[in-house]
């Protein structure tokens, strides 16, 4: 039973039923939103500082201790900017797109278990809900690209659809590997069943899921949607002011959401010795986010056909093979012997990765025109 449900039961003893039903929901929404928005702001600051370190510079350090208020100053600056809508753009869609991008990201946090019982709604189909909701952002990005009436934005919009559709498959297949072991789709069940984090039990699944999600949140090396050296800023090229801020927040919110999902699915969520669970959870999401920033600061971008080839030729077959291995192990290996599984899976992961890196060339070459 989640904390909110307990709160609701307790309220029902003193308040009328309808109030006891609504109040915990509002409290939950406010708490989760406050947590998410604050963490996103801290993440923006953290990424800038960390990126600064990677790039042998300091990063913002003037405003407040260690520059912690810099994101707030940025937010204020962005708020004061003029809101520009392209004259021949689709005004309604242009206005709606940032909302469609941002809201699904907030909705993901409804099923993130921050602690034992500290989950807004412990859906029994939690992970399916995450996959479904997070795909909606792609529609928003497509809307933004389409409504801007800009060719760069249009290229970005078409890249979005291709990228999202391609990377959804390996991501879902690697999630099924986790679900097979847990035997439940509920997020808190997934955390509770991880006495050994799934990153050790299913290294290949973790790598596929991680790369797939990095592609879905448009981070380097898969940041083709806003490839600033090619299509300038991609889908949000025609956005300014608060609408742009929504995209910006959405980008970091997406990163935070997927850090949470990765921590939950593969790193054991809030489980951990000594420290309180919520601290463990925060440590894990910061660790995942740091790796994402690390990749961003070091890797160049893939080309669009190479990106597609990577999804369909590398990640998807490997995800299918991984699924078969995990299914076989879930069927035949007794639960008392997880360490055999660890060894077998690490061996499979390294063999498959080596094989694929040798056998497959990414992308096509020159097209005859």
């Amino acid at each position: 039973m989640t904390l909110l449900e307990q709160f609701q039961l307790w309220l029902a003893t003193i308040w009328p039923e309808w109030a006891a039903y609504i109040t915990p929901a509002i409290v939950g929404i406010v708490v989760v939103l406050a947590f998410v928005l604050l963490t996103v702001i801290v993440f923006i600051w953290y990424e800038r500082r960390l990126l600064g370190r990677f790039q042998i510079r300091l990063g913002p350090n003037r405003l407040g201790p260690e520059g912690i208020f810099q994101p707030i100053a940025t937010a204020l600056k962005v708020l004061l900017k003029e809101d520009i809508v392209p004259a021949k753009g689709d005004k309604l869609v242009h206005w709606l797109a940032p909302v469609v991008v941002f809201v699904p990201i907030l909705l993901i946090f409804a099923v993130v278990p921050f602690d034992k019982g500290a989950i807004f709604s412990d859906l029994n189909v939690g992970i399916v809900y995450v996959v479904a909701i997070s795909s909606v952002s792609a529609v928003g990005i497509y809307m933004a690209g389409w409504a801007s009436n800009n060719k760069y934005a249009l290229i970005a919009a078409l890249r979005t659809i291709a990228q999202m559709v391609s990377y959804e498959l390996p991501v879902v297949l690697s999630i099924i590997g986790v679900v097979l072991m847990v035997g439940s789709l509920s997020m808190s069940q997934i955390v509770e069943s991880q006495n050994i984090p799934f990153i050790i039990l299913q290294p290949l699944g973790f790598v596929i899921f991680f790369l797939g999600t990095v592609a879905e949140m448009n981070r380097c090396p898969f940041d083709l949607l806003e490839a600033d050296s090619e299509i300038v800023a991609g889908y949000h090229i025609e956005y300014s002011g608060m609408k742009f801020a929504m995209f910006y927040l959405g980008e970091y919110g997406h990163a935070l959401a997927y850090s949470c999902i990765i921590a939950t699915l593969f790193l054991g969520g809030w489980q951990g010795p000594l420290l309180p669970p919520i601290i463990w959870f925060l440590i894990k999401i910061v660790a995942v986010f740091s790796v994402i920033v690390w990749m961003r600061s070091t890797l160049p971008r893939l080309r669009v056909d190479q990106l597609m080839a990577f999804a369909w030729k590398c990640l998807l077959p490997m995800a299918v093979i991984n699924l078969f291995i995990v299914a076989a192990e879930a069927l035949w290996l007794p639960e008392a012997l997880p360490w055999i599984m660890v060894v077998v899976n690490f061996a499979f992961a390294s063999i498959l990765t080596l094989l694929w890196s040798r056998l497959f060339a990414l992308g096509g070459g020159r097209v005859e025109v």
């Binding site: 090619e230 070091t298 893939l302 080309r303």
Partner: protein, 367 residues
């Protein structure tokens, strides 16, 4: 049912993050594939060639700084060499060595920027650029020691250089020369073995050898296509015949080769710097030259191996104090002529990196 598609025209630039200035490409795209490219130049035109006809030979030196502003010192060098050839002026030994030192430092500095921004075009979010800037910063400090400037140096004079180097310069240069090969190895290790860099650049934007020669390409772009042509060896000027260095040559002529050639050239420049510092003689740094120089009637074409290619100055004198004709052969403008052949059939992203691998400087293209 078939969907009707048609190519569309995309204006890349003049304001675009990876056109390295105010270059504009009118690109016809079929989806992501480049069908046609039409470069549009002239957004940075300042009429330097005409302006130079109204100024004395010495006054024209600062103009050359503003051509390829990432390699100002070599521009100075090319111009004063042409004037000296025209007027028949000898240069003191020490000045020759100082010029070589400056030119090779400038080559390293320019190639650092080229490689850094090439990787930025590949999408490596500023990090390689900032690492390259770390080394370039040391070079700029050295230039600042010599002439007080960090971008437009105006250091060379007709008959030598403007003044001698300060005494702290040589120790600092020696330290740089000792450190630099290690840093080049580091960059090479970080970048040349990166899978993404390899898949993105190998075989992309190929400039075949015959096309490179026919379009009069020069510099790293030509050498990456496999032509061993370096004016420092082919038509030695100044005192380059005294130094021992190799000419790195690519094999395919793709973006990776152009990148690789630049990295290797930096190593060779360090070698030249080592030798030049060791041999640097004492003495005068500038010959006695009239302020209002009146070269004899005639014309001259002086060319040097600038970091980006063959930089030439064509001067015509009518025995007055100003050149009658002042023409520049900018290497990057001529290297760019093959851009269309290199990128057609590739994707937009390849267009950007191919353009980046040519290493252009708009100050020079538009003049």
């Amino acid at each position: 049912m078939s969907i009707k598609t048609e190519p569309f025209i995309l204006n890349m630039g003049p304001q675009h993050p990876s056109t390295h200035g105010v270059f504009r490409m009118r690109v016809t795209l079929d989806g992501e594939v480049v069908v046609d490219v039409e470069p549009v130049i002239g957004y940075l035109h300042r009429g330097i060639e005409k302006l130079a006809e109204g100024r004395t030979y010495t006054q024209n030196i600062p103009f050359t700084d503003r051509l390829d502003y990432l390699a100002s010192m070599t521009n100075n060098f090319a111009y004063v060499l042409a004037v000296e050839k025209l007027a028949g002026i000898g240069v003191p030994e020490r000045a020759e060595y100082l010029r070589i030192i400056m030119a090779e430092m400038m080559r390293i500095s320019s190639h650092l920027m080229a490689v850094g921004f090439f990787l930025n075009d590949l999408g490596a979010m500023m990090t390689p650029v900032l690492y390259m800037w770390r080394e370039r910063e040391k070079l700029l400090d050295l230039f600042e020691m010599v002439c007080g400037q960090r971008l437009t140096y105006n250091y060379m004079r007709i008959g030598g250089v403007s003044h001698d180097i300060p005494e702290e310069f040589l120790p600092a240069l020696k330290r740089f020369v000792a450190e630099m090969p290690k840093f080049i190895d580091e960059y090479d290790q970080l970048l040349a073995e990166n899978e993404i860099v390899l898949t993105r650049t190998k075989g992309v934007g190929v400039l075949p050898e015959d096309l490179a020669i026919n379009t009069a390409a020069s510099g790293p772009v030509l050498r990456a296509s496999g032509v061993k042509w370096d004016i420092r060896r082919a038509d030695p000027y100044s005192i380059y015949d005294r130094f021992d260095f190799d000419i790195p040559v690519g094999s395919v002529g793709d973006c990776y080769d152009r990148y690789w050639v630049r990295i290797q050239e930096m190593r060779q420049s360090v070698r030249i710097l080592e030798q030049a510092v060791a041999q640097l003689p004492e003495g005068e740094v500038c010959a006695k030259v009239f302020q209002l120089l009146r070269p004899p009637v005639g014309e001259v074409y002086g060319h040097i191996e600038a970091p980006k290619g063959e930089l030439g100055f064509y001067l015509v004198s009518d025995n007055s104090i100003a050149p009658y004709r002042f023409h520049i052969r900018p290497p990057t403008l001529i290297n760019l002529t093959a851009l269309k052949e290199m990128v057609i059939g590739w994707k937009v992203a390849d267009l950007v990196i191919t353009f980046g691998s040519i290493d252009v400087c708009l100050g020079e293209i538009d003049r």
